[in-house]
Amino acid sequence: MSEAPLPQSSRPVATRRLISWLGTLGPLLVLLCIIALFGEADHLKQGKDVFLTYQNARTIAVQASPVIVAALGMTIVIIAGGIDLAAGTALALSATVLAWFLNNGYSPLLSIAAAILTGCLTGFINGVLVSALRVVPFIVTLGTMTIYLGTAKYLANETTIRPPLADIPTAFDSMVTPRPDPEWLVETLGIPNFAWGVWLALVLAGLLAVVLRYTVFGRYVFALGSNEQTARLCGINVPLMKIAVYTLGGLFVGIAGTYQFARLSSGNPMSGIGMELKFIAAVVIGGGSLTGGRGSVLGTVTGAIMMSVIASGCTQLGWRNPIQDIVIGAIIIAAVTLDQVRQRFWSN
């Protein structure tokens, strides 16, 4: 039996491939453009390069790292069709737990483990509530957001926990310092020297990208976000998947909490308020869809770096903080609009 082929897109394969690549690398290209723009503007204004310097890159990277790590967790949750509004306060809770453990004389390793476990637990609770109550994640995490804030305040007696500086190992400082010392990486391996927290963030990103791409779990995350009914029909244990997704998201939040403590050397329950929006923004700028099914690790990392670059660039140009906010807001809208245009282009 001979059958006519189905009609397919009339665009040649090469064009389609190019567009597909642009879609994946789009945010990265935009980031490069923004860096170039700020570099040029800065050069014109100052007469010398301040923005495009090794030192500034190290500062930006250090600022972006905790956002990258937490946004990685948000990426999984968003791809799976969920949202985690509690990520900000859960991050602060993790940092507070870390400070509390150090303050009470526990070893740094145990304290870190407690902080990361706290992160996992917050995610686990979100996942169980979403699965068991069948309430939309937006509402569930809106509630747990406040619960985690309250828990952290309770733990910290409504203040900030400041462990004695002598009890905080220097590893915390070198995790997030913009001026790592000694410069062992440069001397021994010839790689640029960033704080180890930066490298950790990149390693985590790489790991997550591999998991999403090459494992059954990763594929189920996309399937769940793309069409939950289909996932259920195909025999995927949807409630269990949701719990796994949120718990994994919480793991990243817990690690990000460790960064937060390293940066502040204290546990401030209030320090995470509003941060979840930054994580969501990173995912969205990177091409993630709030309706689920779409998002990428590369995109999220790019989105997080983009926000740090803009903040830093605006500072260098002497623009005040309000301007930075306006620029970042405009970038978010532009990113999503671009993505829509691309989608429409495809549907034709």
């Binding site: 039996m1 059958e3 006519a4 082929p5 189905l6 009609p7 397919q8 897109s9 090459y214 494992t215 059954v216 779990f217 594929r219 996309f222 399937a223 976000g225 793309s226 069409n227 009914q229 289909t230 996932a231 029909l233 195909c234 025999g235 995927i236 869809s289 689920g292 099914g293 779409r294 495809w346 549907s347």
Partner: protein
């Protein structure tokens, strides 16, 4: 009635929901290499029966055998593993995932959680080749495929599980006629590969083309089955509706009067292209054509839902502005072909849907007189025989036929004189179809005018005063119905430029 040669058989299946008996002693059997058509009106129990077959419901009585063994699935996934695959009416695909990812969903080939993508690709390619469509690329995201191609992905997914029986639940309801041809070829291939196929459809013409045997369900019972070759259409319809339908197409005498609507050289973005037509009071004008010929677009341009590039529209001698609000005021009303997406707010009540375009009848300074509205809605529900518990029942809980009646009632409620009906009988059972034809005749007799777009030629020829045929965006020919035959319409519809 044990059929030894049957691949799948269901015996004495009974299912109760509370006091209602959804299925009573249902018998059904499919042999290998055979297509069985399962026919029945909406609510006859077809979907309940298929839910029993797929393990979504446990039967209260009866047993099923698959390949000579007792078959008692506990869920869709188990059913698929046992060899019974369902292709649902609503496609179940993760649109953001690729063809291969969708095909392998829930049946991934992996080692310790790590995907073996090469082997998956090979399986997917093999499945697509079996279906006769090796040109579909496994890595293409599904959201870039046409509806027809998406359905193939779904069938391929079923194939990978090595099924013995595949159930198609109204598979053509969202397909273009071109894709329907493809689907029939695919089903023919599956049949010759020795699979048993259950094909559920409302369309008797389709069933005649594709199926070998039929079983008719009515009120949860098997009321007849046999070879299609030996059975006439009227006989099957009579079995379905349970009464002698001497008139599938009831008509009401009406005479067209003065011209009410004139459309001159109207053109949309892609289609329609340069369409002119006249419509008189008390006239039913049918528009035939293939899917994609621009019929829906023509109605949407007349109703100003889609941008009009050129051309003029007059109601009586008045030129209403080009927005739906002005067109409604001028007396036009549109019943959309897409009940779910556009036609009705599925979550909202019958009352809300029915009065949405005519709320001003019940409002004073923005406040709604809800009591008065409810009374009016009850009147309309009675008039159109909308079967529902109460006016505040959500539309999504109604059957397709009753939903369509709500959509039509809204247009009548808003006081439309020119009613644009886009495929109003699609996906509706035979009984309700007849009611809709009768209602159309009555409206014409009351002096209202109707433009009736349909892909089902017998109804066009039975109901309309004149029929026009569209192809490639143009209105080719408008003639009195008596001057048309089905063949002539088809010839005109597929004729090129």
């Amino acid at each position: 009635m044990t059929d030894r040669s049957a691949l799948l058989s269901m015996h004495g299946i009974t299912k109760r929901f509370g006091a209602t008996r959804a299925l009573v002693d249902v018998e059904l059997s499919v042999r290998a290499g055979e297509v069985l058509a399962l026919i029945g009106e909406n609510g006859a129990g077809k979907s309940t029966l298929m839910k029993v077959l797929s393990g979504a419901h446990r039967p209260d009585g009866g047993e099923m055998y698959l390949d000579g063994r007792i078959y008692a699935p506990t869920g869709p996934h188990q059913a698929r593993q046992a060899g019974v695959a369902m292709i649902y009416q609503e496609l179940n695909l993760a649109l953001d995932l690729s063809v291969a990812e969708n095909v392998m969903l829930g049946q991934e080939i992996h080692r310790g959680g790590w995907l073996r993508q090469k082997r998956e690709q090979a399986q997917v390619t093999a499945a697509l080749a079996t279906l006769g469509h090796p040109e579909l690329r496994p890595e293409t995201p599904v959201n870039r495929l046409s509806v027809g191609a998406r359905q193939l992905v779904e069938i391929a997914r079923a194939l990978v599980a090595r099924p013995k029986v595949i159930v198609f639940d109204e598979p053509t309801s969202s397909l273009t006629s071109h894709d329907v041809e493809h689907l029939f070829q695919v089903i023919a291939r599956l049949r010759s590969a020795g699979l048993g196929i259950i094909y559920i459809s409302h369309f008797l013409e389709e069933i005649r083309r594709i199926a070998d045997r039929y079983s008719v369900l009515r009120d949860g019972r098997t009321v007849g089955s046999g070879r299609l070759r030996d059975t006439g259409e009227a006989e099957i319809v009579a079995l379905m509706v349970g009464r002698d339908v001497n008139d599938l197409f009831p008509t009401v005498a009406h005479t067209p009067g003065k011209e009410i609507l004139s459309v001159d050289g109207i053109s949309g973005v892609k289609s329609p292209r340069d369409v002119s037509l006249r419509l008189r009071r008390g006239e039913i004008l049918g528009i035939a054509g293939l899917v994609g010929a621009g019929r829906t677009e023509l109605l949407r341009c007349i109703f100003a839902l889609d941008p009009v590039r050129r051309g003029e529209l007059r109601v009586a001698s008045y030129c209403p502005r080009a927005n739906p609000r002005a067109r409604i005021r001028a007396g036009l009303g549109l019943v959309s072909e897409d009940r779910k997406g556009e036609g009705l707010a599925q979550e909202r009540s019958i009352a809300d849907n029915l009065t949405l375009s005519g709320l001003s009848h019940y409002s004073r300074a923005g406040w709604l007189a809800l009591g008065r509205r409810e009374k009016a809605v009850r009147d309309w529900m009675q008039q159109l025989e909308i079967k529902a518990a109460a006016p505040d029942q959500a539309v999504k809980e109604l059957s397709g036929g009753n939903q369509q009646k709500v959509a039509i009632a809204r247009v009548l409620h808003q006081g439309a004189d020119i009613v644009l009906l886009d495929e109003p009988t699609r996906g509706i059972d035979v009984g309700t179809k007849a009611e809709i034809y009768r209602r159309m005749g009555q409206l014409a007799a009351e002096g209202k005018s109707i433009i009736f777009v349909s892909s089902y030629l017998p109804e066009l020829l039975a109901v309309c005063d004149r029929v026009g045929v569209m192809s490639r965006g143009r209105l080719r020919e408008v003639k009195p119905t008596s001057a048309w035959t089905e063949e002539a319409i088809m010839a005109c519809a597929i004729g090129g430029d």
